[in-house]
Subunit: 550 residues, 2 copies
């Protein structure tokens, strides 16, 4: 704590509060600055120069770099930290009032001040007795699960009497990535529950997406879910119109909606409507009917209940565990350390599990949309970047793709490896060995036997997160872990993780193009070429040609 | 050219070559340094401070920032360049001998000196008359296409007489990403050619990958292709063993191989073997039987011929077009400018086409594996990073995911937007409008009506690349464009883009774990937990339990 105390003293003096020496005397911003300065000073002086090869030899330190909850085991011994660094990181969390903000979020206070909203996705996985449960959300969940049960048991059928065995979910962004990620994650574990059923997602406004999703489906046995909070999302409404045409009049009643705009959904022709409140942001909505409806239709009620139970277990852990053992807080602190102190732009999320192959994209949205901000929660311009570029692929395929740069390139990319205990046979053992070996290779490096072309410098940080297995419970806990980590990291950055105003400008400029008002000469030239090529194509088709490519 | 000349003069003097003033008098490294210094000085002094909003108002400059070849149209007006910057970039290309290296590559010289290999993927799409064609490669292609024709026409059938309508391709890295990317790209355009046929890829050693690929296939009608240059790739051989078991003795003859190790393939039990030379690297191998065999089986001979024809057209363009109009060189220069001069760590590849949804991952491997190096081609440690972190998703879904950070975060991520002229209806028009609008939004920004939370700073570089359509010809041209761009950018960095020694250490450490020699205490703890959890699971199963998640 030496440096922390010195920095606090210095900050106290600078603030002119002569007589009071305790942190309590500092304004919140000064407390944060002092805690970060202390951390930065310590890292520069005592950690940065130490190779991970050396840090990893201290077994007591390695043991201190582990934590466990809800069947998830975290090992961050391969981060550039000493035991003292962890203390200083936790001081930063305290100085940023992470605990107070967490508690305020659970109490339903306005955590998204720019939109004057509370942030209550945790209520979606609460049980009725929980203090932060919301009656209305519980009722909606019951309706969702009852409906799914009725469809799966064939009590509810299509308009010509056929069983509704296929589901098409139309939605984009948060209305697609979370549900698609969980759908993929559960496909092997719950294969028998999904037997004879198919679930497809349509997100992209490119009509090829709809074409590919529908081409082997039959409207008579297909249920369509249109997912849009406002029921005005341009892509979703254009795709819903295509799918409605495909259904034809006979099956128009096969459409239901997940939306907060029930009137609009009814006007569009959706029969059944499931609502969700404006206290749930899109990227935190997989626990609402956005995710629960398609997932319950595909896998049944039990896996959805387990998913929610896993998330709730992580909520309890997040609320109750001390910061030094709190998985979401530890992940946030490690992320903050790499991004803010070590100034790494990117982070790789690398699940060694085919079932989690969409998880990197889920995290990509969650974090980049939440924390990719340029101003703090008060609207002051940030002086140092918040948010990281998150990318990743499932291992082992990633190893044969972009890992070359991770091992030998000069750009250091902190990695998050996810591994799974349960799995079959020699293939899964090989998978797990690689999950361990890649982390060691990044940390330890190797001199390449004196050949510089083969040399790996090592000293590259990673963390390892192990799931007992990829079932609905652990998937729920994993997603909730990353949600809370994202929020906590946002509190460390001092940003509002719950708005996303940055996406509005592009929508507006697309609207201007539609009304003939392109913003630049370059865009006018692109549009002219677009139109000319289409006219040429029409003429070629009319002349009986068509397929020629040049 | 003012600064370039000055810098050259300075470098000449520093080198002590008193009397000679021309660039020819400089050693290659000095020429490169001088050209880069001139570029850097110009950018710092004349471009960096100018907002893209202003640069885009100069229509003459915008026109100078376009080029076109093979049905691909490039607009890089939204890069932080003036017309003079382009001249200086081309000086850098000349100083790095990009033209000489390109010509040497086509002549078949050793461009991969660390492995003492020539780099001849261009020969795979040559026609027999081309100077760089290789007889053996042409013969192999003929055999591949003949075999595909025979399978598709049902002259070749499975061992019980059934038509072989499904294909499973087992391979990882370059043996998977290129073929899978093209498979996805052609799925809509050539849907009728693929009618009744399925093509699946197995890359991940996770047994779930094989389980998911095979679960609705019938061994009697499935052809299996095992793809591995050495036939020792651990993941591929483990997966091939699983699939061989699935085929059963009756259908063992359904396996063929793409490999340079014919003996090993035969010993494994593969009947038909298609070879490729060591002059083709994995990530450049989609044009070999690695890609042509599964693609010809799925789509027939004509699309594969078109794919090769498109790539060959780009080869001719790359060989012959002057640098200032040369698409691969221009892309490489823009990439180099952003990564090396503006020091951007990442680049986003954003195709506004569902068909190109795997293209970002293809480029991710191609570039990060090729140029993610820490030493130059001579083995000297680089002082500035080579290679960028490449990531991306198809638009418009990406807009609803990570674009928030692109627009408002403080980390600037150069973007490459891909658009397509051909497409159907209002949905495709909306797609194209977004392709244009996002580039404008990044460049122009907006003050958010005085609300800092809504403010987008703009001045963020992007380029726009338009394809006439997503057919095999244009996909071939596009992939070849990025191949050559990657090689050219590697020559600008001064690295060997054709080896990948950085991936060896991880494999070695995985092998050590297998033989009981884990490298760190942390890994030993992870393995202990892995084993304990599996034992507990076995015991639970034996006791008749099983599914409990906690």
């Amino acid at each position: 704590m030496r440096f922390a105390t010195l920095a606090l003293l210095a900050a106290t003096r600078a603030a002119g509060t002569k007589s009071s020496l305790g942190p309590a005397a500092l304004a919140p911003q000064q407390q944060r600055d002092a805690a970060i300065d202390a951390l930065r000073h310590h890292v520069n002086e005592e950690v940065e120069q130490r190779h991970l090869r050396d840090l990893l030899e201290d077994e007591a330190r390695c043991n201190a770099c582990t934590a466990e909850a809800c069947g998830l085991y975290l090992d961050f011994a391969r981060q550039k930290v000493t035991v003292h660094t962890i203390d200083l990181l936790i001081n930063v969390a305290r100085a940023c009032n992470v605990e107070e903000k967490r508690d305020a979020m659970f109490r339903g206070e306005v955590m998204n001040p720019t939109e004057n909203r509370s942030v209550r996705h945790v209520s979606l996985r609460a049980t009725r007795g929980d203090p932060y449960a919301i009656e209305e959300a519980q009722d909606t969940l019951d309706r969702v699960l009852d409906f799914a049960r009725a469809v799966r048991s064939r009590h509810v059928r299509g308009s010509s009497g056929e069983a509704l065995v296929d589901v098409v979910a139309i939605g984009i962004g948060g209305s697609s990535l979370g549900p698609a990620c969980v759908h993929e994650a559960l496909a092997s574990e719950y294969a028998s529950e999904a037997d004879g059923r198919r679930l497809r997602f349509i997100a992209n406004v490119d009509p090829v997406e709809t074409e590919m999703a529908l081409r082997d489906l039959d409207p008579a046995s297909t249920l369509v879910i249109v997912i849009s909070k406002t029921f005005t999302t341009k892509e979703t409404m254009l795709n819903a119109a295509l799918v409605k045409t495909w259904l034809g009049e006979q099956y128009e009643s096969h459409m239901c909606a997940v939306t907060a705009a029930a009137e609009k959904a009814r006007a569009f022709g959706c029969e059944r409507i499931f609502g969700f409140g404006d206290y749930v942001g899109g990227r935190y909505s997989v626990w609402s009917p956005v995710g629960c409806l398609p997932l319950a239709l595909q896998y049944g009620v039990r896996p959805v209940r387990e998913l929610l139970r896993g998330a709730r277990a992580m909520d309890l852990h997040f609320r109750e565990a001390p910061l030094s053992e709190n998985l979401p807080v530890l992940l946030a602190l490690v992320g903050f350390l790499n991004a803010f102190i070590y100034e790494r732009d990117c982070r790789a999320v690398l699940p060694y599990a085919r079932a989690l192959s969409l998880f990197p994209r889920y995290v990509q949205q969650l974090e980049m949309e939440s924390n990719g901000k340029g101003v703090d929660v008060e609207g002051n311009a940030l002086t140092e970047p918040a948010g990281e570029v998150v990318f990743g692929e499932a291992g082992t395929p990633g190893q044969h793709s972009f890992y070359q740069l991770l091992h030998q390139g000069l750009r250091v990319v902190p990695c998050e490896f996810l591994g799974v205990c349960q799995g079959d046979g020699e293939n899964h053992d090989e998978l797990f060995r690689n999950f361990c070996a890649q982390a060691d290779a990044l940390a330890l490096g190797d001199d390449g036997g004196g050949d510089n072309h083969r040399r790996c410098p090592g000293d590259r940080p990673s963390l390892s997160l192990m799931l007992d297995r990829v079932d609905a419970f652990h998937v729920g806990a994993l997603l909730a872990l990353y949600e809370h980590r994202t929020a906590a990291q946002g509190w460390l950055y001092g940003v509002n993780s719950f708005d996303q105003f940055g996406v509005e400008l592009g929508k507006r400029l697309a609207g201007l193009i539609e009304s003939g008002d392109a913003a630049t000469a370059s865009t006018r030239a692109l549009l002219a070429r677009y139109r000319a090529k289409r006219v040429a194509r029409m003429e070629a088709l009319a002349a009986g040609g068509g397929g020629a490519s040049e």
